[in-house]
């Protein structure tokens, strides 16, 4: 690892140094970093770990702060109080440090976010947390059982065929567990739903976001999937665009935030 490599990474700002990294939201209000519309400590931590793991071997981590441990585990990181790596949250500056020893910081300029929009989004998330399903919903049990596929592209294999999302049986055979898919693909179709066309789970935030965009993607490994575009993705999708993915908040219900992979246009 070379010292102080600072890059844009999955819509965030990251700075690597020999001891680890700092990753921050790229959004700021009056110079202070704030979380983006579908980001929080958990999404920053996973993004940071996914960058750091390219440089260092990270099996387990120690958490200091408000991070969803299920989401980290779904992405392949175990939680251990004795772990070599520590994730520290700076809630006041939408910043995460992942290091072996000292917590460190890094000053970087972000992109100014409209403060009213930020307040409205925060309020929407707060209300959404208390929402109760009145019809179709994904239970916590279903969400947990699919978490590794939803957040880490955990896949299956049957003969030469890669399978994602997971299937119980194909014909009379059960597919075998396989390594995660590479997080790259190509847009084959897309739509942008108006606030009125979006599922009720998104009804509070869709009007603030001017609708939500969904893409149909053929993954480089073969399977297809549908994904939301990250809320702060500035590019408009087009058929043929290459995409990569990042874990972001999907929606909240019954007191639980659901996380999943969202598409970022390359």
């Amino acid at each position: 690892m070379s010292s102080n490599q600072c890059i844009e990474w999955q819509g965030n700002l990251a700075c690597l140094n020999p001891n680890g990294l700092v990753i921050k939201s790229r959004h700021t209000i009056a110079g202070k970093h704030v979380f983006g519309p579908d980001s929080d400590n958990t999404t920053l931590a996973i993004s940071g770990l996914n960058l750091l793991v390219e440089e260092s071997e990270i099996g387990s981590v120690k958490i200091e702060g408000d991070i969803d441990s299920l989401a980290l585990q779904a992405c392949g990181y175990s939680i251990d109080e004795e772990a070599e790596w520590t994730i520290s949250c700076d809630d006041n500056n939408a910043s995460i440090s992942i290091s072996k020893n000292d917590v460190f910081d890094w000053d970087v300029e972000g992109v100014e976010l409209d403060s009213q929009f930020y307040d409205d989004i925060c309020e929407a998330w707060s209300k959404e947390m208390n929402a109760v399903s009145q019809g179709a919903f994904v239970s916590e049990q279903s969400y947990r059982s699919g978490a590794a596929s939803r957040m880490n592209f955990s896949s299956q294999q049957l003969g030469e065929i890669r399978i994602w999302p997971p299937r119980e049986m194909v014909g009379d055979q059960r597919p075998q567990q396989a390594p995660p898919l590479s997080q790259n693909g190509v847009i084959e179709s897309w739509t942008k739903l108006s606030a009125g066309g979006a599922p009720s789970e998104f009804s509070l935030r869709a009007p603030l976001l001017d609708g939500i965009a969904t893409v149909f993607v053929r993954m480089d490994d073969g399977p297809c999937g549908v994904f939301l575009i990250a809320d702060d993705e500035m590019k408009l999708p087009e058929i043929g665009n290459r995409v990569t993915f990042a874990v972001r908040r999907l929606y909240a219900q019954d007191g639980l935030i659901r996380y999943g992979l969202k598409a970022l246009i390359c």
């Binding site: 179709a136 999302p165 179709s189 942008k192 599922p199 009720s200 149909f216 297809c224």
Partner: protein, 390 residues
């Protein structure tokens, strides 16, 4: 093997209906009973199949038992049939099979949905319950979104355009204008449909069917009874059904509905006819792109030519190759989910008997088809009807 005929068919007006489930069902059943020419009493019915999603959760359990007890069909075997928007298409198929098997002589197939008595928030939760909840819904998709993905891909692969969908919308509104049972009886201009409010890009409000209340009832009878009940029975020439992967991402292509192709092949084969023999077709246009793809999947147009078919007006009443959605289709007539499939049968029954309003009658119609799709194409039922047995 026994032949099966439709001897009676009726429905409520689709739209915002003032009555609840029991009232709507009774109105629909009475309208169906009234079309039977011979001596008929509802106690003569051997079995009943009623399609419904039970939208809103008002009466999910034992729906059919509740409804039939209010229409004089007491103490017979009944059940609710659920296959999303294709619920009553499959209820009709089940009724047909009950007679074909020799287990019943007179069977009722129907459908019902009450959609407009919910708060907007609760309604939004129920819309899209028939898609892939875990993977598609969490990616922000309900049916406007899934069909929008299909539409954009169809445009990309085949050069079809949104204006082709506009043509379908305008046609179906024109067809439904004089239908007294239709939900949206509006003359919609090309320019208006072209510039509608965007719901799911590229689909606008004028590409989407409304959410409707409604019920429909069809009475089927075995051949040895049919002629005593009806002077003009309409024969079921073919029944086909198919299914496919629920989620779009599990299908090899998102520009065709394989379930429709399978159902149509089976129905055509059974009837011994092909698409060119059909005079009128009630197709499942929950979104205009669904009709465009259906014209291809049912064989009225070649693969990729659905846009051209619409552009050339080949589905216009009494002007094209085949009249598509003489009733106005789901777009204009309305889409009370569970009631739509047998509602299509009601239209074909009346058209083939020459009993619709004179200004929307399909001329010389002798063979009709119904096409009822569940959700984004996971299930499909296709039926073919004739004035005469072939």
């Amino acid at each position: 093997m026994v032949d099966v005929a439709v001897v009676g068919a009726g429905q409520t007006k689709f739209g915002n209906h003032p009555l609840g489930l029991k009232g709507m069902w009774a109105e629909s059943a009475e309208n169906a009973f009234a079309t039977i020419d011979g001596d008929f009493d509802p106690s003569m019915v051997d079995e009943a199949f009623i399609g419904s999603i039970a939208f809103g959760g008002g009466q999910i359990g034992n729906t059919a038992a509740l409804l039939t007890e209010h229409t004089g069909m007491d103490n017979i075997p009944v059940r609710r049939v659920e296959n999303a928007c294709a619920s009553s298409g499959f209820a009709f198929r089940d009724a047909w099979m009950a007679i074909k098997s020799g287990q019943a002589d007179i069977v009722v197939a129907g459908g019902i949905e009450k959609m407009n008595d919910l708060s907007p928030e609760r309604k939004r939760f129920w819309l899209g319950v028939s898609g892939d909840t875990e993977w598609e819904r969490l990616a922000g998709l309900t049916f406007p979104g899934t069909y929008a993905l299909m539409a954009r891909r169809h445009f990309h692969e085949f050069g079809s355009e949104h204006d082709d969908l506009v043509n379908i919308s305008v046609k179906n509104h024109m067809h439904g204008l004089e239908n007294e049972y239709a939900h949206l009886r509006k003359d919609v201009s090309f320019e208006k449909a072209q510039n509608g409010f965007m719901v799911a890009d590229p689909l606008t409000l004028y590409d989407c069917c409304p959410t409707s209340d409604g019920a429909s009832t069809v009475i089927l009878a075995a051949d040895h009874i049919a002629k005593s009940l009806s002077e003009d029975p309409i024969w079921v020439l073919g029944s086909g059904a198919g299914s496919d992967n629920l989620a779009l991402h599990d299908r090899p292509s998102i520009t065709q509905l394989v379930a429709t192709q399978r159902a149509a092949a089976s129905a055509y084969n059974q009837a011994g006819i092909s698409a060119k023999d059909i005079d009128l077709a009630e197709v499942h246009d929950c979104f205009t792109i669904a009709e465009l793809m259906a014209t291809e999947d049912l064989g009225f147009a070649s693969r990729g030519e659905g846009g051209k078919f619409a552009r050339e007006g080949r589905g216009l009443r009494n002007q094209g190759d085949v009249t598509i959605n003489a009733s106005g289709g789901l777009k204009s007539k309305g889409h009370p989910l569970g009631a739509t499939g047998t509602g299509q049968v009601v239209e074909v029954f009346k058209q083939l008997r020459g009993e619709v309003e004179s200004n929307r009658q399909v001329n010389d119609a002798s063979i009709g088809l119904t096409h009822n799709v569940g959700g984004s194409g996971a299930t499909c039922a296709v039926h073919i009807f004739g004035r005469d047995l072939i």
